[in-house]
Symmetry: none
């Protein structure tokens, strides 16, 4: 499978760096190829077109969130604790890779509607995991029975995303990880029973 070949990963990683450094609109295929140490044409042996590179970037990096999240959910903890771990994990992954955080919070959002629809469908898996936590919480009585799951999801994801974007736009000047417990507390208040 092509995704397991080293050059595939080489190019995806190069794309993250080039986009973070130059911005989405200045991330030419030739720059990505140069950063990856391959010829321009080689890109097209692994990706259908430029859009395909960007989708793959998101797909590959999103898995960092999702894989961790699955471990957390499998653990034998309460829904509230799962939520806290999810927020901590989200902030930790992005804190550890400021290149990636620029790309996901700022640059990739400059793509057109088609690309964003594709990104959303990748994101869906993450949001589905979040929904599962919320449903479990309602059923266990930890979260409010009147709660609208979709709204709660938008509350949580919207807040996390806004906090993260703000952190990136302020050039990572404050410590994102240390925000986690306060964000958790605010969100938990909103949804708890």
């Amino acid at each position: 499978m092509k995704k397991e070949k080293p050059k595939y990963k080489q190019i995806v990683d190069a794309a993250v760096i080039v986009i973070a450094d130059n911005g989405y609109h200045q991330a030419q295929v030739s720059k990505i190829a140069k950063q990856a140490g391959v010829a321009d044409g080689t890109i097209y042996l692994y990706f259908k077109n430029k859009e395909d590179i960007l989708i793959s970037v998101f797909q590959e990096k999103m898995s960092l969130f999702i894989e961790n999240l699955q471990e957390i959910i499998q653990e034998d903890t309460t829904p509230s604790e799962k939520l806290r771990l999810m927020i901590e994990n989200h902030f930790k992954v992005l804190s550890n890779d400021t290149f990636l955080s620029r790309v996901t919070q700022l640059e990739l959002r400059q793509s057109n509607k088609d690309l964003r629809l594709q990104i959303n469908s990748i994101l869906k898996e993450y949001l589905d995991q979040l929904d599962a936590i919320l449903v479990e919480g309602v059923e266990s009585g930890a979260f409010s029975k009147e709660m609208d799951i979709r709204l709660a999801r938008q509350l949580i994801f919207g807040t996390i995303d806004e906090v993260t974007t703000s952190w990136v736009m302020k050039d990572h000047k404050f410590d994102l990880n240390s925000q986690a417990s306060k964000v958790y507390q605010l969100l938990l208040n909103g949804i708890k029973a």
Copy 2:
């Protein structure tokens, strides 16, 4: 002042329609000129460049939120009630102009970092109003004393924005206004004392 001349408004309104109809990347200056009923060159008598048009679009339309919000704050109501009215107002303004909602939630976000920084500085006035409500709420004892104002602002704005974007991406299929009271309740829970 140039902003009061009829052609200035003509061009800004034309830009909203063209961007909503064609998307950000397909909103060429010549299309905006045609929609506004002026020559391409005339645009440059009123705007420095294309970016200047887009900033002006945001600036002009943002005032819809801010003017209403000021009336609300001036009213003699509790901070919680002000928050509720602000959410309702936000949803109402966007519900009334689906063209505008497409433009602010989807299309204008495809701009580059510089443009978004400018947009953020316009947005700041709106967020400052929100901060004022929050401060008032803390001082009056309605909102939690431990609350971090910045985080609370991100909680509120992030959630409103996420709900709205989701509504636009689902082609306005559900009624945004009717979400207001549930969103208010969730957010209030998060921040109340």
Copy 3:
């Protein structure tokens, strides 16, 4: 009408020269623009795309044949004489413009099937004129009553085209005009009553 603007003709004439000099596959749009003395982008104010330039070259230049031919047919002469004049005219037009002859006999034939279908539909008007002469000749008894019009047209056009192409491929080394009477005699023998 856009075809009357000087730049339209400037570009068509430039295209003939560039194609004749460099060959069909080496006739880049930028070369044509340079030869025409305009910017690359200007080409696209007058032509939809590169293919449109090539079709226009054929269209504009084909009219040289057709307009002359109409004068000849309107004259009060016998069908045989009309045929003779048509052949002479064909050879004369191409003899007078060796650039054009390279382009029509060699270069434009390297185009893909779509373009050639378009060229054929332009050519049709010319062949219709030829058919008219043939029909008139059959009716007047000058040409054989058993003659198949389509075959006769292919005999005449095929021969003229082969003679001309051969002249071009031999770098115009012999005098094309002086072949006219012999070609006429051969063709007339083939079709006369």
Copy 4:
């Protein structure tokens, strides 16, 4: 000799099919290799470059005409009869292989001047055979003494080629073989004594 190796013929036959199916400009080396069941690189063990493949296609397939023609000429018949048999043979060979007819009449003509010069030199052998018939006819008194051999050759070849191309462009909709006697008659009239 490499031309007798099985893979050589495999590749030439694959090229005919690929060109007929996809057109000259869409006949990439990799498609030909795939159709032939060999690796891309293997092509270059048997052919110098892509042009060499195309020349070989013409060379190999042209022999179909020439070998038959030699048998006809060796027979003890009159020059007029030889001409008739040559026309019939030409039409028959192409009728029997519509793939080949597309390739020779339409696709291979999209090649550049160099390739066409090479093709012409291969064609020369065929035209030389035709010349021999014409000379014999003049000497035997069957064809006109004033006849210009080169013009007569262009009359005959140009007509046959035009009829055939027309048949291909009309998607082989009429029966080419049945045109032979009428074409023969027209041509004979043109050149007979």
